[in-house]
Subunit: 200 residues, 2 copies
Amino acid sequence: MSERGKLIVVSGPSGAGKSTVVFKVMEQRKDLCFSTSVTTRSPRPGEVDGREYFFIDPERFQQMVEQDELLEHATYVSHSYGTPRQFVEDKLNAGINVVLDIEVQGARQVSEKMPEAVKIFFAPPSLDELERRLTSRGTETPEAVRGRLARARQEYAEADFYDYLIVNDDVEHAAAELSAIITAEHCRFHDRAEILRDRR
Amino acid sequence: MSERGKLIVVSGPSGAGKSTVVFKVMEQRKDLCFSTSVTTRSPRPGEVDGREYFFIDPERFQQMVEQDELLEHATYVSHSYGTPRQFVEDKLNAGINVVLDIEVQGARQVSEKMPEAVKIFFAPPSLDELERRLTSRGTETPEAVRGRLARARQEYAEADFYDYLIVNDDVEHAAAELSAIITAEHCRFHDRAEILRDRR
């Protein structure tokens, strides 16, 4: 069946292991890709335009916002980031499922522009476990860890519009759940109902 | 995670291969069973009470209807059949997913009594293929086949309240889709949201 891809929004605290799980599923199925964002920041050494990001200037970014060419956007400190609608549409039309890894506020924006997006929240097994994971990275100060934990609590409180919740206690298990959700979403009655009308 | 099971309603024309697909999934996962119906007809040789059916008399059946002990029921010719609510509830509470293989009208009744039921419609790849399957059984007169095809068309027209549509063009593929749907439905945000509140 040549079906349109699904837009898969994934959110959850840093340390929930979202990307690890998505990459694990990508090893198993070819119909999945990450979205590539636009950003106004400069490329870092080794970054390639169109691979890590589409690097654009602030004027073009502003134009994209005004012309509704971004599914969501946000500004952190002095740089802006956004999800280009056309990139996503092209992939979906080619039958590829597109993963957007964005924060809860961005997910809400996407949800308004594309209500058919499948929204999945990733959580670590517990906040204690999240604290352990963040601390064991060795790259975060105790204060930064406390900040991330507070942020996680706030995201939990705002997450009730997500469709699915994956608790990442085990990468293989979480990947199996993510893959099952993608497969199941392609079985939605109203996506396929044409079959009952057309086929004789 | 000790989760409540899901009630899985499957419907679709005779010849869509529903039971074959469900049995295939049962080989792969232990958390799935068929519901056992009550019936007022007599046991046939070899049938065991509580295995093929719970055999009950018409008075008890009528009492179950009146006391809302059946999730759905129907009468064919002179015998009545129904799905006992308690049997289903006991399995769900034990974490077992229960499959009800019932017609569209019964599915509508179940849907009203248990809105959380997951409703899956099975279709053959085409009505031409359905005709081939029914004819090749060698047990149906051409007139009976025509009747079944007309019935399939009618079910198609009434099926728009189902959640999922599985087109059984290949048993392995259809079984993978059914299993994915069951797994995905256990990932529903609101079934698991307690995790975000409880776990520290």
